[in-house]
């Protein structure tokens, strides 16, 4: 690689280059979120009435038994889904990255491709499959495993349905960061471990696993954060009991009676949690990567 020649240049173009994208994000991303925050403190409102800075909505959010419990329910559902599919995706990524198969990129594409097709359509597919008269149940009737009139009802419109579908949607995507981190693994480390007498399992536990930890963490985050705020899948296959935190936010803005203030509180709370998580995890990832180099 040719040596980079340092030149002193008047860096006037950087503001021009960065200006537009940054401005776009500030106006259409930062400002809207600030508005939501202002709404949650009643500093701003679209409906007539007396308004002014108040923590009332936030206090109610914290003290009410309902909202934080719903958030916790969503956290549990997201954690479960994320953990299961990360555990499932790891061996897949391992196979692709480390088995020396010649067509690893092709196979990776085969794995990831469903994720790049329509989200709603894949949820639709499960709606068709899981219902009382859906594919699974009618198949069971047809083959005589269950008698018609006794379908398995817990498949659709349940917490199970939501978690199954969310897992299905995100599984392909989750394999990617794990694959990337395993692929950059230096095989010589494993060879060295083997020379020193370690078994494959020990090498895996002591070398591969720790070094792929950043990939695992990234994968976990990639699925945990979006599923935490999910509302589309729960509304299609969740029924009354698969209701998640995101659904409450949507409902507060859309149905019953406008309660945009409470809705804003819930939205900002979610946003805050997600931001904190992201910051913590990226800090956590950086030092590890440096050590591994």
């Amino acid at each position: 690689m040719a040596a980079r020649r340092e030149r002193v240049r008047l860096d006037l173009t950087t503001p021009t280059l960065l200006g537009l994208p940054v401005a776009w994000l500030v106006v259409f991303f930062i400002v809207p979120i600030a508005i939501v925050a202002a709404y949650s403190f009643d500093v701003y409102s679209l409906f007539p009435g007396t308004h002014g800075f108040t923590l009332a909505a936030w206090r109610e959010f914290v003290h009410s038994p309902v909202y934080l419990a719903l958030f916790w329910k969503s956290v549990k559902m997201s954690l479960t889904v994320s953990a299961i599919i990360v555990v499932l995706a790891y061996p897949l990524a391992y196979y692709l990255a480390l088995s020396g198969t010649k067509r690893k990129y092709v196979l990776l594409l085969v794995l990831i491709a469903p994720f790049l097709t329509s989200y709603l359509l894949r949820v639709l597919a499960w709606k068709v499959i899981l219902g009382d008269q859906g594919v699974i149940n009618t198949f069971l009737f047809w083959t005589g495993v269950r008698s018609p009139g006794h379908p398995i009802s817990q498949l659709l419109y349940s917490r199970f349905a939501v978690m199954l579908v969310l897992g299905y949607i995100w599984l392909p995507f989750v394999a990617l960061p794990i694959f990337v981190s395993l692929e950059s693994l230096d095989r010589r480390l494993l060879e060295a471990a083997s020379d020193l007498g370690a078994s494959r399992l020990q090498a895996f536990r002591r070398v591969t696993l720790p070094l792929s930890l950043p990939g695992i963490m990234a994968a976990f985050l990639f699925v945990f954060i979006p599923t935490l705020g999910e509302f589309v899948t729960p509304s299609l296959v969740g029924g009354a009991n698969g209701y998640m935190y995101g659904n409450q936010i949507v409902d507060l803005f859309g149905t019953g009676f406008p309660d945009w203030e409470t809705g804003s509180v819930l939205a900002i709370f979610l946003f805050g949690i997600v931001t904190v998580l992201t910051v913590v995890f990226t800090r956590f990832l950086q030092p590890r990567r440096v050590a591994a180099d």
Binding site: V22, P32, I33, I35, L88, L111, S118, L236
Partner: protein, 273 residues
């Protein structure tokens, strides 16, 4: 001996891989089967072959309008996202920036926001400044969403290119713009195309944010979502699903293959030059 996998391990993992891939494609296959099924209800046993549903959706004006709307929104917002993405990526990889970490974080932050929060925030913004909800507002939102993806595709490619080529151009007296147009842009073109396609598919499929800011128009995902509630529309929707999924699979594969081939060729050009 293989240090990473035993022979049995390899067989086991291969089997797992096949099973998972089958699991991933099975619902899509089921949609395919029932799109030809001669019955309003997707259920076993099968009722015979028909092309009726495909014909129905091809003559469905509402559906076509929704597809058109989505295509327009996707095209416009992708162009916007790619343009902004190129600007940002060039700045990130070719310039010294104070507070680079903060700027990167800002540019990538839409990746981590739950769409329900973003959709609502845009709703409030447009209510506040009095912009009526329409195709334009959806385009604005989708540019924000797609921007990080374009940057994530463009930055690695820009870093990959040999900077000395650009430096040589400057030495020969070319302006920055000229250099970009003649040297950089052709070299990053495969990545630009990739970025455009990713932004396009993201926008075309996006439901959450669009549902908040689209106003009275209908995008394809919004049409799908409401069609899911009408049992007699279901077979038609399944046919559409099959077509869209097949098309996007083809596009994705073609794009990825195309990108690799193009970059390889450009790489050999680079080295020759």
């Amino acid at each position: 001996m293989d240090v990473a996998l035993s022979r049995n391990g390899r067989i086991a993992l291969r089997a797992l891989f096949v099973l998972v891939v089958l699991f991933l494609y099975l619902p899509i296959a089921i949609l395919l089967i029932f799109s030809f099924n001669n019955s309003e209800l997707p259920a076993f046993p099968l009722s015979g072959f028909t092309l009726h549903w495909y014909h129905q959706f091809l003559t469905n004006a509402d559906l076509k309008a929704a597809l058109q709307t989505s295509a327009i929104i996707a095209a416009v917002s992708s162009v916007g996202a790619v343009v902004l993405g190129v600007l940002a990526s060039v700045a990130l990889t070719r310039r010294r920036i104070k507070g680079r970490a903060a700027v990167s974080a800002l540019l990538l932050s839409p990746l981590v926001i739950p769409y329900v929060v973003f959709g609502i925030s845009l709703l409030l913004l447009f209510h506040t400044i009095g912009i009526p909800r329409s195709i334009l507002t959806v385009v604005i939102g989708h540019v924000v969403i797609s921007l990080p993806y374009t940057i994530l595709v463009l930055v690695p490619r820009l870093e990959q290119i040999d900077v000395s080529l650009e430096e040589a151009a400057y030495d020969l007296g070319a302006s920055r713009l000229r250099t970009f147009r003649s040297i950089t842009l052709p070299l990053i073109l495969p990545a630009v195309v990739s970025a455009f396609l990713i932004a396009f598919t993201t926008s075309f499929d996006e439901y959450a944010v669009a549902s908040f800011v689209v106003g009275t128009r209908t995008t394809f995902p919004i049409y799908l979502y409401s069609a899911l509630r009408f049992p007699n529309q279901l077979p038609q929707v399944i046919s559409v699903a099959v077509v869209v999924i097949t098309l996007s699979l083809v596009v994705v594969v073609a794009a990825e293959v195309g990108r690799r081939v193009a970059e390889q060729r450009l790489g050999s050009l680079e080295n020759a030059g």
